[in-house]
């Protein structure tokens, strides 16, 4: 892309709040239940029913807004967003329009080692819609309302992101902050964190925004980055050809790795918002808001700074580990039992993350106690097992749930560190391989590697490598002196 062009991206993020019940009724919010088993006359929009706000949803939304450095409103209210679509049985969504819960926030995030800040325009509360499935055979549309009425916050950024990488880094930081603040599980694969992106190009230095495209269906960090990269290329090409871009909604087609225009009705944006008469407004007590602010835990950026200062971790390590609260907790607990932070960090980033990634698991799904990792690392330090055996033991301990020490004993994986026993093996190897021994004595140092290999082979890889090497070198040196 030419340097003369600037990419401008803003995000609209929907986040499901971690409540037990829905925002305006007592139905469960559990994910994955059989269709329409968590519904009632209120979330199905039956006439004569009245919604009542779930206080926990309001509290979590305030928590999220404070974690995103927003100014929380003193006075806020709900509005109706009117449109006909079968995912909303009422014919409108209860949302917030001109008096949102919170505004004017910001979020700092790291991209390629640099700190960047994106402003948050607003955070508001609303209800989620149902799920539609299209039956290709009967031509019918089928609706599941279990998700309808699950509390959501919508987080809208200012158009402050300048590249697809920045958009991704922002989303990753946003997820980490919301997970730390315990407002949402943020499971993109379950739809509890969803993102639309607005993207346009403009000549560098210009202040007006170019014609934007709104990209929907971005249900992974990868999809977000790939779709935006595709859009930058598509819009750049169009502008270079002198074409005029049109304001449009496009969707990311994961299979073909392209964005495609979506059919949208022209009137779709004519929502005719008006104040929701069925719900009373909210006046937020500043003291209550302050209480929530004080109850916020250490957030990822603060924790990252502390990991660097307190444990001496490089910025890279600290960034990778604090990205997940569970992983950072795991790291700290492990360091408590085994006070060598850099070694623990290497294992967390290498073995632990490697294991999770290879199985497509989230850190929350890790079934392994930090004490166990400490136990394993101590066995390496004590010379009981080698690092490579430790890696194997880790894999087995994580998948079987057995303790590393028990596994080592059960399988007889202890290193051979008995000098007498190892010396005997060394003698045997020297006797059996006179030719490499001669080579070594004539100064071919490389022959030592072969002899070491033989020692390892005879001990089934269990020889303590440092000890074996020392014994081998000593034996070869002594015998050279004996040979005339």
């Amino acid at each position: 892309m030419a340097d003369a062009v600037e990419v401008v991206i803003g995000l609209e993020v929907h986040v499901e709040l971690k409540t037990e019940s829905k925002i305006f009724c007592a139905c469960s919010t559990r994910f994955g239940s059989p269709p329409n088993t968590q519904v009632c006359p209120i979330c199905l929009g039956h006439p004569g029913t009245l919604p009542v706000l779930n206080l926990k949803a309001l509290e979590l939304a305030v928590r999220a807004a404070l974690a995103l450095n927003c100014k929380v409103a003193r006075y806020t209210k709900f509005d109706r967003k009117n449109y006909f679509y079968p995912d909303l049985p009422k014919g409108y969504q209860i949302s917030q329009y001109d008096a949102p819960l919170a505004e004017h926030g910001w979020l700092e995030f790291r991209v390629d080692g640099r700190m960047r800040t994106a402003r948050i325009r607003r955070v508001h509360l609303e209800e989620d819609a149902g799920k539609l499935m299209h039956d290709e055979v009967t031509g019918e549309t089928l609706v599941d309302f279990n998700r309808c009425g699950v509390p959501l916050i919508e987080v809208v950024t200012e158009p402050d992101l300048r590249s697809p990488r920045e958009a991704r880094a922002f989303m990753e930081e946003l997820r980490a902050v919301l997970q730390y603040a315990e407002v949402s599980d943020c499971r993109m694969q379950e739809g509890s964190l969803r993102c639309d992106a607005n993207i346009s190009l403009r000549p560098r230095g210009a202040t007006d925004l170019g014609t934007k495209a709104e990209i929907k269906n971005l249900n992974s960090f990868r999809a977000l980055e790939k779709a935006l990269e595709y859009e930058v290329a598509r819009q750049t090409r169009a502008l270079e050809r002198g074409e005029r871009l049109v304001l449009e909604t496009r969707g990311w087609d994961e299979g073909r790795q392209v964005t495609v225009p979506l059919r949208t009705k022209e009137e779709a944006h004519d929502y005719r918002y008006f104040p929701e008469p069925d719900l009373v407004p909210m006046t937020l007590d500043p003291e209550w808001v302050e209480q929530i602010r004080r109850s916020l835990p250490e957030l990822p950026s603060q924790r990252m700074a502390r990991f660097q200062a307190e444990y001496g971790l490089p910025a890279y390590d600290a960034g990778v580990i604090v990205a997940s609260r569970r992983l950072a907790d795991f790291f700290e607990e492990c360091v408590r039992h085994y006070p060598h932070p850099k070694t623990v960090s290497n294992w967390v980033m290498g073995q632990v993350l490697g294991y999770l990634n290879s199985r497509g698991l989230e850190p929350e799904e890790l079934n392994f106690e930090p004490e166990r990792l400490a136990e394993l690392l101590r066995m390496v330090d004590e010379g009981v097992i080698s690092v490579s055996v430790a890696r194997e033991v880790f894999e087995e301990a994580v998948s079987t749930g057995k303790s590393p020490r028990a596994l080592v004993e059960e399988k007889g994986l202890e290193q051979l560190s008995d000098t007498g026993a190892l010396a005997a093996v060394v003698r045997q190897v020297i006797e059996e391989h006179p030719s490499p021994v001669r080579d070594y004595r004539r100064g071919k140092v490389k022959a030592l590697g072969f002899l070491m290999g033989q020692v390892m082979k005879k001990t089934a890889g269990k020889a303590n490598p440092q000890l074996a090497r020392r014994l081998l070198e000593e034996a070869l040196a002594t015998e050279r002196e004996e040979t005339p």
């Binding site: 409540t19 037990e20 019940s21 007592a26 139905c27 469960s28 059989p34 269709p35 329409n36 088993t37 968590q38 519904v39 009632c40 199905l44 039956h46 009542v52 706000l53 779930n54 206080l55 926990k56 949803a57 309001l58 209210k77 009117n82 006909f84 679509y85 008096a99 539609l132 499935m133 299209h134 009967t138 019918e140 549309t141 089928l142 609706v143 599941d144 929907k216 269906n217 249900n219 909604t249 969707g251 087609d253 994961e254 299979g255 073909r256 495609v260 979506l262 059919r263 949208t264 009705k265 009137e267 779709a268 004519d270 005719r272 104040p275 719900l279 009373v280 407004p281 909210m282 006046t283």
Partner: protein, 110 residues
């Protein structure tokens, strides 16, 4: 404060109402009269007065605790819909919009 027949037609479409040409003209006239009547409020001096967001001035902060309660007549409530299929509400096909179109396509391709 005139509401043109075109605006009436547009609003009627948004509300999924089918009006005859006669009704469009009739409502255009009536709506114009109503708006003109209400417009009298514009003459009031509201300088320095806080906007009213909600007519219930004294009532606010009505909440319920976050407690799950299943609806006891779940079957009846679902069966109240004119058409169902395997526990799902069946509705006339809608033009796929937004995520649904792409996900339907992905499922087919995948």
């Amino acid at each position: 404060m005139a509401v043109s027949p075109e605006e009436v037609r547009h609003v009627a479409w948004l509300a999924r109402l089918r009006l005859t040409a006669h009704e469009e003209r009739l409502f255009s006239e009536q709506l114009s009269n109503i708006l003109a009547h209400v417009a009298k409020l514009q003459e009031l001096d509201v300088e320095g007065i806080e906007p009213t967001f909600h007519v219930l001035k004294t009532l606010s902060n009505v909440y319920r605790p976050d407690e799950v309660r299943s609806w006891p007549e779940l079957r009846e409530v679902v069966q109240a819909a004119p058409q169902q299929r395997d526990g799902l509400f069946a509705v006339p096909r809608v033009l796929p919009e937004g995520e649904d179109e792409v996900s339907a396509k992905n499922e087919k391709d995948g």
